[in-house]
Symmetry: C2
Subunit: 208 residues, 2 copies
Amino acid sequence: MVIGKPVRDRRAERHEATKEEILDAAWDIARTEGLAAVSLRDIATRVGMRPPSLYTYFDSKLAIYDAMFAQGAQQFADAEPWDELTGDVRHDLALMFRTFIGFCAEDQARYQLLFQRTIPGFEPSPESFAISQASLGRVVEQLERYGVTDPRSIDLFTALGTGLASQQLSNEPGGDRWIRLIDDATEMYLHHMETTNQRATAKGRAAR
Amino acid sequence: MVIGKPVRDRRAERHEATKEEILDAAWDIARTEGLAAVSLRDIATRVGMRPPSLYTYFDSKLAIYDAMFAQGAQQFADAEPWDELTGDVRHDLALMFRTFIGFCAEDQARYQLLFQRTIPGFEPSPESFAISQASLGRVVEQLERYGVTDPRSIDLFTALGTGLASQQLSNEPGGDRWIRLIDDATEMYLHHMETTNQRATAKGRAAR
DNA sequence: CAGGTTTTCCTATCACCATTCGGACTTTAC
DNA sequence: GTAAAGTCCGAATGGTGATAGGAAAACCTG
């Protein structure tokens, strides 16, 4: 018989598992009732506890939001399509737009938590914020590989992305209307790249 | 001495004045503490009442939000620059973007109420919603005068507008960086118009 | 001006919310 | 076995929006 892990780890493991369970319940409520409707009572009910017991795992309700933010930011990082880039600017730009907007549309509550700052007292902690910033940084790096170095052009890219996302979210899901909208946006931004930047060409091979 | 209005009107007038006073207090709180931090208690304190007395003027807290929404939508309609259009597409598009973004940046709480749907149970009433829709309709009409009739191109326009707005809101106010960003966006959208639509020309005289 | 009616505003109360405190009970460490 | 650490709960606090019922004021009508 193999010697098990030190007992101390078992306890820490269970602690982490319970935290996950709490966050899962919180996400569940956020997705069905809305992000702002998440209450400690409801969370506690779902995990079979009383509200004060949650404070064993999180310092406050805002700390729960922060942990959710960190999870969402990590999912955002995992969703980025770095391994699907081909080096064709047109293809890659459309893919980046589509990935970002698809990610936003996938979960309205997550989108609201990550990209709209709307929960009254909530500000992501520096650690959580760093996760989301790293993802955006990788996007900027990718843009720079295509010759987009002007800050204004980068702003324009993110503005287009967030605009498309909010546009998509206010429409009914499904349908391919928004996919063609993204293609239009890609085409439009490509021309902007070609007229304002030097190295950008429609057939550049700058990927990775 | 002129015969005054019937006394009944005096009472109705005062009722309306008090409603205005309540809404002013609500806006004040929304701008300083945040839209979600508006509480009946704070409103009541500012207007010198007890919280239940507010129910004489509004059916619920959400009704107050709805009245604020209607006010904001009306301000949006009033802000539209129809009398400053010149007929030059480049100038007019930039002006429309700038007006919209300026309006959004002017008051974060108003922007959040009008364009981000983030208050838990709040949905604007049909009457209030109609006010905001009418403004957007006039923008679409204006676009059509420039030959933009494709729904996707219209979506692209609004996406660009909302994206620029959220971009502007997340940056520090002041500075002319965002003005030049708008010029870039205008230039970019102009090219999109020229390549996808027929009648659009950089010097069209379609205004009003 | 006297009557009843409507409007306004209040106190008291309820249900729900996040949070704190202190204690009981279980698990782990030595 | 005993001390320490971790877990969970009941009770209580102060905040929220909302309702009920009553007192006072304003108003309209005879």
